[in-house]
Amino acid sequence: MLPRTIDFARRFARNRAAVVGLLLVILVIGIALAAPWIYPRNPLRIVGRPEIWPFVNSRFPLGTDSLGRDIAAMIAYGARTTLLIGLCASITATLIGITVGAAAAYFGGWIDEMLMRFTELFQTIPNLIFVLTIVAILGQKLEYVTIAVGVVTWTPIARLTRAEFLSLRDREFVQACRAMGMSNLRIMFGEILPNALPPVIVLSSLVIAGAVLFESAVSFLGLGDPNVSSWGRLIGDGRTLIRTSWYICAVPGLAIMLTVLALNLVGDGLNDALNPKLRDR
């Protein structure tokens, strides 16, 4: 196990961009975890004069927004929101996606037909509108945003899992397992899944990035949870001030971009490290 891990780490490290991405992700996680120590008070508190530009007042390194709230504090707490939603939504999406995709490919026939129609159904509905509808129905709470994002992002995972399963389903080792009389579940999850998993994991890591973007769009449109700090909401709030104080939009946007970028780079690194095709190159 250990040599494999080291081997994996070495392959991952070969992609320097991925290492930068990983460091960035660690940085964001660090900020998110440390937020309550750096800023012990509620980040949504009004603490100073409104619209102080960044790097002007050392108390507010990233300036204040239109209400006089500390942008740095909101960014730090926003990292918690962003990562939490990204991670939970990705887990939700991965679980749904793998289940649907695996079952569809393995059983084939009408089950495949049904499940793929089901997948198509979710792909057909414009995803962002679907998220907005769900949030509008369930309410503006963090967990509902998470569920909504998970529910619209699982379809690519299902399709990929199905494709991987399809290509593996007729391989010799699976036929051998069948001949040995293994149960369907065991073949699916014990034998095929581990072989199909690497690309799925890569995709899941990219789904985190996608979920972060979704959350920011929902908050930008004013439908996020008002009780927590969010990068997207900060952009939405700052929008009316783009002529006078465009930094209010720019700063959280940069935070979103760097986080998504870092997650994507890590995903690429994982792809390099896990994708057997590139392994021998």
Binding site: L44, I46, G222, P226, T240, R243, S245
Partner: protein, 534 residues
Amino acid sequence: MSRFSRRDFLMTTAGAALASRLSGPAFAATEAPKRGGTLLATWGGFEPQSLFVPPGGGSSPYFTSTKVIERLVRLTVDLKFEPVLAVDIKPAEDFRSYLIKLREGVTWHDGQPFTADDVVFNVLEYWKPISAGVSLDALDSAEAVDPLTVLLKFKAPVPEFFLKSVLAGKSGLVIPKHIYAGSNIITNPINNTPIGTGPFKVKEWVRGSHVEYLRNEKYWNPSLPYLDRLVIRWWQDPASRSAAFEANQLDIGVFNPVPMPDVPRLTSGGKFIAETKGYSNSAWITTIEFNQRRDIFKKREVRQALMQAIDRQFISDTIFFGRAHPSIGAIPSSNAIFFTKDVQDYPFDPKKAAKMLDGAGYPVKSGSRFGLNLVSAGWFEENVKIGQYLKQAFEDIDITVDLAVPDRATSLKRIYSDYDYDVAVSNNSGSIELIPSTTQYYTTDGIVKGAAFRNATGYSNPKLDEIVAKMAVETDEPKRIALGKDFDRLVALEAPLLPMVDLEPVTIARSDVRNHSTTADFMGESWAELWLDR
């Protein structure tokens, strides 16, 4: 403001006002209006669902329909009624009937003549059942005496100012009988291309973009309108409107068209002016409402304490960028007739608030006095920030707050249908006349589950109901004004729901747009007298 002076005024100014319409009140003596040109206009909100929404439909269809459809009278900025389609409205001695004289030679856009039959149709089929609601409860009958005279009869005395307010208000639009008779007024497809007697005719409505009006060549006042063409266009965000002004794509915008911080920048060069007149008959306020169905808020001291915990100057200065001021009592200060300063005031004093809560039996226990659900109606951008500020303000006096800022639909449902809130932040726009637009937030008969913008707090006080009932039939103006002030004093003391701030909406216009903002509800004016100095 005696009854006689106003009536005299209306009679004597019937002709004078007509003259002033020709030259316009604001620049009457100095400049002769120029004819022609296209005016590009907008307002600080979205496209209407339909150009004309018979039951009301909010500010946006009101804005688009009033350029086409006129009323009998209008209210000027200095609160005088001026004739439009009616040249005179005269009460009988007992105020139980009114005689309305109509203007001669008015035609609808399709060439049909405008007559007393049209007005009777409006009173009986449109205003009473659809638009005016309880305002015309006392109406008994309406009949055409001759083709240009209408007689209205009432079951009880109706104050003159009240009736004229209804006729000059949002519910008094006059629609053509020959188009609407026999159809469902609300769903008639003509509402998308309305027909009226007004100075502008609808040419084309491009959904999602703009509506274009052309000059009505057969307008009853042959010298009006001055403009050849009027275009109302919609943008979804204020910053774009600001840019459109600078790009010469916009001449006038009503009701806060641009972000507040942009106002000084736009006006500093002299190319644009900011005008705050023209909003007094549609005075917007931001209210805080305490749900009386919760035991905590049944205590008056708790409501009063919470009022004192709010720094309303901060809301005015920071959230509204100075385009608002702390409210005094329930009646906006822009209401020159009924406003009074002589009411219970709630200056910002969190220490006193905390003391009052201690006294009311809600001391701090393990960090919190009690928890409350705060619902801030998400239809205005500012309400989001107000919600966040109130959460902080209440937490400062050790109240735990769970904030929700639901979208428009959910806000309406939670506040006005389900009463699912402890404290709510909402808005309303009141007319100068208090009944019913202001009073229905407080009276017992204002409690109607599911009917929005009414008494949602469940507050009920027989003493208050009595004052309002007296006011409804009091025809002596000074006595009526005194009753209005009694109403305000009682409401301010009880504080079941109070305005936190009075908004000061602003109109932005290019300086070469002349003769605007001359009526008490300029947005809903026909804009016939506007002209371009180009």
